[in-house]
Amino acid sequence: AAGVIQSPRHLIKEKRETATLKCYPIPRHDTVYWYQQGPGQDPQFLISFYEKMQSDKGSIPDRFSAQQFSDYHSELNMSSLELGDSALYFCASSPTRATYNEQFFGPGTRLTVL
């Protein structure tokens, strides 16, 4: 079965650079979530989209922005990168907006900021 696809899987950037992470949800899933997981930490909710509209916002820094496109894929744009942005970034999708349904997580993008 198709799973959530994230690219790139690994990314190395310098401080103050910009990064773009991509997420391709499972076909027919219309809701996408982004999470950030620091080393030894739990996943922290950043932002979610439903039907291409921002649905909810968590602890996402102002330096980050995201959108969902007409084909339902989503991109997380990160600017003025800081050392503390080094983390695993997960995208998850679900077939419905209702959060009591399970979320299907991608393999993550490991971002390292030097």
Partner: protein
């Protein structure tokens, strides 16, 4: 603010025994609670969901209980196997915006020794 705690950072048990993981929450009354499994460097995988009006849920060797009076959920793995070794995360659904999103606990790292 909402807080979710998993009592043990690590749990070591012998193969064949029952593993019991605890999840406590404060300052919130979630309608649903979910459990996920996460292997190192990979995205969380959904295991079980339990609703506030359900006392217990089972799936194969897994059992989850939900006590809204104690604000606690217990996650049991019976007849544990080394392949069950992973980090287990509990997550509650938080309706802070237009839809719910997940707040994760920090996880319990389970090691099952042969």
């Amino acid at each position: 603010s909402q807080k979710i705690e998993q009592n043990s950072e690590a749990l070591n048990i012998q193969e064949g025994k029952t593993a019991t993981l605890t999840c406590n929450y404060t300052n919130y009354s979630p309608a649903y609670l979910q459990w996920y499994r996460q292997d190192p460097g990979r995205g969380p995988v959904f295991l079980l969901l339990i609703r506030e009006n359900e006392k217990e849920k089972r799936k194969e060797r897994l059992k989850v209980t939900f006590d809204t009076t104690l604000k606690q959920s217990l996650f049991h793995i019976t007849a544990s196997q080394p392949a069950d070794s992973a980090t287990y995360l509990c997550a509650l659904v938080y309706y802070g915006g237009s839809q719910g999103n997940l707040i994760f606990g920090k996880g319990t790292k389970l090691s099952v020794k042969p």
